[in-house]
Amino acid sequence: MIAIIDYGVGNVAAIGNIYKRLDIPASLVGTAAGLAAADRIVLPGVGSFDWAMGRLNRSGLRPALERAVLEERKPILGICVGMQMLARGSEEGRSPGFGWIDGHVKRFEPQRGGKRTQLPHMGWNDVQPVDSADLFADLAGDVRFYFLHSYHFEAADSVNVLAVTDYNGRFVSGVRSGNILGVQFHPEKSHLWGVKLLKNFAGL
């Protein structure tokens, strides 16, 4: 069973709906017992970094989440701010992140090489997987996902970079460290490409 963490942040229902259509068992989970019963976890996120971290910390789920991810090594997929929360922290706020993947979340440069960057980065962009197995299996070539963000994950170690995207320069659009994965885009809002990615996660 896939636990979609329901902490009042992000489109838990849309993710649940996709798994339902795929006939893959998944439920919205807001309790430690629910996390213990799951074999993998989706951590959605929208909003600002501190708001999302604050809600997660206040949900009381953090100890159970840490046990599931760090000790039991259940696969976890962070989405958008959920991916950023895997970092040590973010320029957007003061709250520390989980620090499960070494790196920091930075704001896009408003200008680069004399070119103005429209922010937020909003819309459909290409994603180039570094590793096209597992999460990005059968997602090579003309693959587009929906992005909506002004901050991006800067990985301290390139070994953790799972995918990159170009927006006035390359940025990290996917990260991985063992069982811990994150994507900056919204697979639950990315039509068939997103459905495929969520299906791939269920098979990890």
Binding site: V46, G47, S48, T117, L119, H121, Y146, K189, H191
Partner: protein
């Protein structure tokens, strides 16, 4: 390459889908949930749903309907109508709405935009500027479904909204609404020149050629349309439609850079 966004704009009134002309004469065109299902199949870039009564009648957003729409949407959803507080925005975002659109409340109190952005993030706060040109042709912002005139010109209002923390400006031409004669391109140019956040044009698109013109002129832009995606033919028969991926890519042919703003 980040692509321009082609966005159906659906108007909701009393739980039904309607389409207006010049912000008046709402015509019933169907059920919103059903429309979202069809737009899912057509793989639309985004969807913008506006409740045209909520602010005018001082009503709360119809959370039951919005929740159903958010669950159904396999594309990003922007909702507008009756949003006046940070708490409402928080509730909408936690229900799965990606972007919350403000109009009258933001113009009356720009700090609302800032306070909202601090909680849900600026990328999720959109301001809609409904614009009617006055006798001299000056683009003046109106609110309350085009019934109240503000004293603000569109470029000043857009700048103020972006500086307050809005992540996107939707500029909607009241004059061109439902006319299907093309976008007010000079109006869009004014807004793009005033801000560095994404801008979406609404009002006037009657054909894919109008969208192509908009994209050719401005590059990275949102192209929203109501009538175009719900009516077909000279008799304005109701038929939900949207360009295929090939047609849509053709609208964007020639774009090869990720440069923000107008070329």
């Amino acid at each position: 390459m980040l692509r321009p966004r082609v966005i159906p704009c659906l108007l909701v009134q009393n739980g039904g889908l309607v389409k207006t002309v010049g912000f008046a004469k709402p015509k019933y065109v169907g059920d919103p949930i059903n429309a979202v299902r069809i737009f899912n199949e057509k793989a639309v870039d985004e969807i913008f749903i506006a409740d045209i009564d909520a602010s005018v009648l001082n009503k709360e957003p119809d959370y039951d309907l919005i929740k159903k729409l958010a669950i159904e949407c396999r594309m990003p959803l922007c909702y507008g109508g009756g949003v006046r507080s940070v708490e409402q925005a928080e509730r909408l975002v936690s229900m799965g709405v990606e972007k919350v659109a403000l109009s009258s409340a933001a113009l009356a109190d720009p700090t609302l935009v800032t306070r909202m952005a601090n909680v849900v993030g600026g990328q999720s706060v959109v301001t809609v500027l409904d614009v009617r040109r006055d006798k001299s042709g000056a683009p003046v912002v109106w609110t309350h479904n085009g019934q109240r005139r503000t004293d603000q010109l569109v470029s000043d209002a857009a700048k103020l909204m972006a500086e307050s923390g809005a992540g996107e400006i939707i500029v909607n031409s009241i004059d061109n609404d439902g006319a299907m004669q093309g976008y007010d391109l000079p109006l869009v140019a004014e807004v793009l020149a005033a801000v560095s956040v994404p801008v979406t044009a609404l009002g006037g698109a009657g054909s894919l050629a109008h969208i192509k013109t908009l994209i050719e002129r401005f590059g990275l832009i949102g192209a929203a349309a109501g009538s175009l995606f719900v009516f077909k033919g000279v008799y304005r028969a109701v038929l939900i439609n949207y360009p295929s991926r090939v047609e849509k890519d053709a609208l964007m042919a020639g774009l090869a850079s990720n440069e923000g703003g107008p070329p």
